[in-house]
Symmetry: C2
């Protein structure tokens, strides 16, 4: 297996990306290709133990964090990102990992890899640790805005991903909202609620953020703006606590007796810090996006995630499942029906 | 001073509302008027010590949590909410407090009290405790959707509110977003960024949620959906921790030495649980909205907040400040200029 690594993407590139690659290399059988400024990379690699074994591929340009996705594709064709993506598109690697500008990653992936038929656009998914286990949160920032169709397609992507990845037959899907009632929230969310309720997905309704600590839900659907905000607040809150929770809270919970489950729950939450990569769902080939602020460990995690996705053929199985299952067609059909029903009384057919 | 209390609004109404009123009564000189089902209220009051002193005003109807604001005004005219709001409109009380359906509260307030001239719609503001002090978060749910104008008006409301309430001359305003760069986030947020940058408000730029734990910011501007999601995640995360943080974390921080500031910071955060009321900014008279899940203590806090707002003439001063300061006019003017600049090249004037 070969994995391309965008060595120039991220706040701490290329040093931390290279460090992450070196940590990952002995752990799994994947061959890594570092893509970026050859001279700079070779220079750093020369100084590090084991650095000589890593392959380097030259890419003269880089994408800045302030560029929009569309601009990055239009104006720069030889960035470390687009060269990595092209390697993947041409089947010269099996997956790619980047901690760079996520808008540019998404634009490049759509443009060079293409989407699974029927999918309108990709979504970034992150497992959010809760006391009741992980909940897959998506979209966490592939796009900043969403429509009803995007939300229900995210639900379908989550359904299929969890099905092929964990073997769950009917993952429990929730919609992030500001109340349980179907009338709450913005229009596109209310419509997504109505559509998901009629679909055969296992939709458990609106989830308010504080419910995460009591209800069990396998996937949380929201637009990329809200998802990213949620994720970053989560990180901020747990970041502030993490040093001491490790040492005290877990003992405290166990002292109290019967608190072992809670302790285990929070222990899981704290590992949040270590989940380094988010799969970009809906594209044809395996793309893993790491946080822009990723340090070496997060990069290693992202590489390991990419390996496991390739080993278990998750992306191929998702595409096959979506083709056979026809859930996307069903959602489209339901959406048309809902529109017709709304028009009926207006046209006098009621 | 007299304050009307919507005794039938909220998940634990009327019992917890009454309990909250009884706790508040001896603390401040305000005369409370409980509005709701007379028989039910008198029945409960009869059983409670001191209950005989509370005034009760009959209102035969109640607003359900699943009703939309528009529907609540159209179909029900004698709810505990609208009767309370009418008392305020007719100057028979100085403020009103409700823990009911917030969409209905906002609709009633707009309809019966009216807005400060120039304000397009009201915003709900909550002080969010952070390690660096409180940050006023708005909107937290007066409306589920927002435009650029709504966002920048929220910034102006926050500016004026903090100015008259705390005496700050130039409160630091931040925009909740998913990156620091001006190109990040949905279109209406990007436009609000551009507009606020040009205004004379003290706009410090985009704030990512994890920044709350490092940067000092006095007010955080976002749409009501995102604000409500943020607030509820905050509550959920701290709710799960609160019992033990009270007992252990604060000692731990102090043991470590030099941790007193951090300890004080988190102590403030934990008081989050006790901030019971959010002022509805932009309307002509003092309206305080309490959380739907409020228990007695939160109701007492909301009543105390209403008293302090009335005592310090905050709403009158806000209206006066907005009239004299002409910040709303300036923002409108800047918005028109930005539109013209966008059209210039299209019309060949560039």
């Amino acid at each position: 297996m070969r994995i391309a690594l965008d060595a120039m993407g991220g706040d701490h590139a290329p040093e931390e990306i290279i460090a992450g690659a070196l940590q990952a290399e002995p752990l799994n059988a994947a061959e890594l290709v570092l893509v970026g400024d050859q001279e700079k990379l070779k220079n750093i690699l020369g100084r590090l133990e084991g650095g000589q074994h890593l392959k380097v591929l030259h890419a003269p340009e880089t994408v800045g964090m302030e560029e929009t996705g569309a601009k990055a594709i239009r104006t720069k064709r030889e960035t470390s990102l687009s060269v990595s993506m092209r390697l993947l598109a041409e089947n010269r690697v099996d997956a790619m990992v980047s901690a760079g500008n996520s808008a540019a990653i998404v634009a490049n992936a759509r443009h060079l890899l293409g989407l699974i038929p029927g999918v309108r656009r990709p979504a970034l998914a992150v497992p959010l640790p809760t006391p009741n286990g992980n909940a897959l949160l998506l979209d966490v920032g592939a796009h900043a805005e969403a429509s009803t169709v995007n939300l229900v397609q995210s639900a379908a992507l989550a359904h299929v991903y969890l099905k092929v990845q964990t073997g769950m037959d009917q993952p429990r899907l929730g919609l992030i909202n500001i109340g349980h009632e179907p009338v709450k929230g913005p229009k596109f969310v209310r419509r997504a609620f109505a559509l998901l309720k009629r679909s055969r997905l296992h939709f458990i309704g609106n989830i308010e953020p504080h419910d995460l600590f009591s209800e069990r839900v396998d996937a949380l659907i929201c637009d990329g703006f809200v998802g990213n905000v949620l994720l970053k607040l989560y990180e901020g809150l747990f970041g502030g606590f993490s040093d001491f929770v490790q040492t005290r809270f877990l003992d405290y919970q166990q002292e109290r007796g019967g608190g072992q489950n809670t302790a285990a729950g929070y222990r899981t939450i704290l590992q949040c810090q270590n989940t380094g990569g988010a799969p970009l769902l809906g594209v044809r080939k395996t793309v893993v996006v790491a946080h822009g602020r990723s340090r070496a460990t997060a990069i290693t995690d992202a590489i390991n995630l990419a390996c496991s996705l390739v080993n278990n053929k998750i992306y191929e199985m998702m595409a096959e499942e979506l083709r056979n299952d026809s859930i996307l067609h069903e959602l489209k059909h339901l959406s048309s029906l809902m529109l017709l029903e709304k028009l009926k009384p207006r046209w006098g057919f009621a």
